[in-house]
Symmetry: C3
Subunit: 356 residues, 3 copies
């Protein structure tokens, strides 16, 4: 593709050889003659100067720092996302059902869909146009998968689940497993049958080995445009609003309701039965134990220290209540001393008077 064409797609301006042809993207250090790269703030400007890339996407402020061809855009990272997909489209998939797949007669599979080897598709399941299922997927009964969704290898979608359009799901994901609900009954745990569904909107991405449980009743619901990283756990009856994004290993407990456009760092924990409003950012490893009612950034992460030092801190932390009480006692003591001192000064003053 010529630079002019690329620039057109990202609404950018070419500086340099507009006829130059590009066939791939690469990192700034590995980019070669025929590849495009990008440069964003906070990266080393030296890399920009030394790059051998055929063209660099960058903002106006860095445009003069580079002698190679460039396409000037407002947001080089977003522009890169668009160009990278243009130059590296999804591998084309062959329509049709692989001979080794086991598909129920009552399933409705669009003619343009691709059902991979050794897939199993249950009764009354509906699979939309251009849907891709990789190898070893198991799709239960009464499932709906919207047009253009891409399910990679070895994905389990349990019965009654609804997957929207243009979703992308990585291997090992389990959608619609039973939620974790038990009643105590005479010293034993009695399972609450999990009879609800998982409903996933459009344009949702789900990372490898993530699990999303079906609701006890009603729906576990993942809004349009939500992006979930690997090994995330979404418990039953959770609601996640549109365009919320979660990094790896985050866990959300039952019936939590999370707003739109929220962001969660990795290994975060959201406890159950609480509500988080829109536009809340939670830092990595932080723990949400109560509802968050105001948009903003929240954290409870504790960074490592050298171990000997940390052991002392941790020991002190465990006695923090006593420390606070000691401070309180000091405050009272100092007030007493002050009063006493004032008395002394008064005495002194009167003593001096009387002594004069």
């Amino acid at each position: 593709m010529k630079l002019t064409e690329l620039a057109f797609h990202v609404n950018g301006e070419v500086k340099g050889d507009a006829e130059k042809k590009i066939d791939s993207v690469a990192s700034i250090s590995r980019a070669r003659e025929n590849s495009l790269t990008f440069f964003v703030k906070n990266r080393a400007v030296g890399d920009l100067r030394n790059t051998k890339a055929g063209v660099v996407l960058l903002t106006p402020e860095f445009s003069e720092q580079c002698e190679c061809n460039r396409i000037v855009v407002d947001d080089p990272y977003a522009a890169f996302a668009k160009v990278a997909r243009l130059l590296h489209p999804h591998p084309s998939v062959v329509s049709g059902i692989h001979a080794s797949a086991i598909v129920s007669d009552s399933a409705e599979i669009a003619a343009t869909a691709s059902i991979g080897p050794l897939c199993v598709v249950g009764n009354n399941t509906v699979i939309g146009e251009r849907v891709m299922l990789g190898a070893h997927c198991a799709i239960g009964a009464n499932v709906t998968i919207g047009d253009d969704s891409r399910l990679h290898d070895r994905i389990t979608i349990c019965s009654d689940s609804v997957i929207g359009q243009r979703c992308e799901i990585m291997p090992g994901v389990v959608i619609g497993g039973d939620g974790f609900g038990y009643a105590e009954d005479d010293g034993k745990w009695l399972k609450i049958p999990q009879l609800g569904r998982v409903v996933i909107g459009d344009d949702v991405d789900i990372g490898a080995n993530t699990t999303i449980d079906r609701a006890a009743l009603d729906d576990t619901s993942i809004g349009d445009g939500v992006k979930l990283d690997n090994q995330i756990q979404i418990a039953h009856n959770v609601q996640i609003g549109e365009h919320t994004i979660m990094a790896g290993c985050t866990a959300v407990a039952g019936s939590a309701s999370i707003g739109k456009r929220c962001r969660f760092g990795g290994h975060a924990s959201i406890l159950g039965q609480l509500e988080i409003v829109d536009d809340v950012y939670v830092n990595a490893t932080s723990v949400v134990t109560r509802s968050i009612k105001t948009a903003g950034i929240y954290s409870s992460a504790i960074a490592v220290q050298e171990n000997n030092r940390w052991q002392k801190v941790a020991g002190r932390l465990h006695r923090l209540n006593e420390l606070a009480e000691r401070v309180h006692k000091l405050e009272k003591q100092i007030l007493v001393n002050q009063a006493q001192e004032n008395q002394t000064l008064e005495n002194q003053a009167s003593g001096q008077q009387s002594g004069e």
Copy 2:
């Protein structure tokens, strides 16, 4: 089913139309004419008044708050668990081995068992009556699976594992993978062969993508009635006592021994080589680093704060040892001052005396 029949199963008393027929369960807000729901304390009484349910399970104290049919019971949640299973039994499974499954000639499969499509069953493995294996299960050699256990799709049970009766295992679970044991040898890691087993009792439930490692020697052991949520990690040689329950993403390190009837919140961490007695409850995200010898509730969870505020707290925390030392110094100083002050007062007294 008539209300009288349902009431009989849960040892409850019908108030209203005992002949009323019910065919499903639903949440209190979505329940309709023909559905049963339940009401427990701490929920909004308004929901109870407004429900359109055919019948509500509730305790005597709420019986008069509702004009619809009701079944009065001691524990509505446990009663709901029982009724829900009555009205929504497990889907019936067809006995027999799917034509696409690959089963060793030396495996013993009960005639009433159901082996799903594309399963693989190893040598000398014994599968009990009415056992269900979903699609894509891989059961190794010398495995035993007890009667009435239900293994959903895509479950791996490695060789020599023992699974009890009436267990329910969700997709993606791996039981009997090698434990993580290495000896250091000349700057490299030498794997300790993992030669033990996993032994799982009766009535154990295991959530999606949970992993339970085989012991190095002897057994990793999960007691009767244990309930494990999704993405839990149980390391080699761990022992878990009967009826203990663990929420999602909890991790238990090697050789930990956990008592009966314990409860673990989600994302908890239990370190290795320690012992936890019976009836210990550990809150979500908490970290057990040493043996717990007394039943009770334990925690080390830290809830999020607004980030700017938290950053100050975290900074102070890292200097907590110094803060404690400063308090100690103040305490000494205040004693010195006190002594000095007392001296001054004495001086003053004697000065006044001498000045008189």
Copy 3:
């Protein structure tokens, strides 16, 4: 095997019946006549005295504590690892491609490799000598798997990945899933195509359900001899140096670079875009938020306390900044008081003088 032979393999010295034959290993309490066990410091010496083992591996200092046969070595645990593998070699695998496997015509499979039932192998993939693939593995296109690597059941290796020699990979692992990279674009998330690879060295072990994402560009790289436990998450572009070891459920965020011979306890979190030098040990559940530039042990783990006590500590922690400010105020106050006191003493001295 005779004790003399075993001793030869571990460079040890037999004390007792050198002709004695051993056929298995066992734990010290369960070992019998024909089995070998080991004894290391910190274990109960009583177990050593009472063992019924045919032979015990131990250090010279314990050699006289036991009446049974023994092999004296410097490092009994490493010696045990070697002997255990000798006595319990990997089960032999039948070379060849299982009739149910679906292998691309363009894949190159070594004649000595074993491709298990229902595996899928993609185009142009190269599988080395004596490689074992268990059941249900899905190996994408253009993958390389080195000689003698053992992939157990149900493993997904996405396209373009490189796996070294003598690796061992447990069930449920996903290697080469898309990294988690998005650009914000007009309130939505735009996926950055993940076009890089995963490159895994020789002698790497990977535990059940662990996930390792492909790089956005370039490589995610796992060095020779690295050992990863279960349910570990390695994000895109991460680099892990040789012989580093990580316990279960540890998560490493994007572009983190980790040195050689590092050790990570379980449930640790390493944030992205940072560097950790060689020989860093991070304790379980600890959180690395910034680069670590000095070898050593680091921690931020907080152990549980009894819950009522902890709730007070946690409340105090949230007000730690205020506590520190109160201490600061006390320090100032005490200086003022001191000054005042000194003034009083001076006054007193001069008052006494004037009063004399």
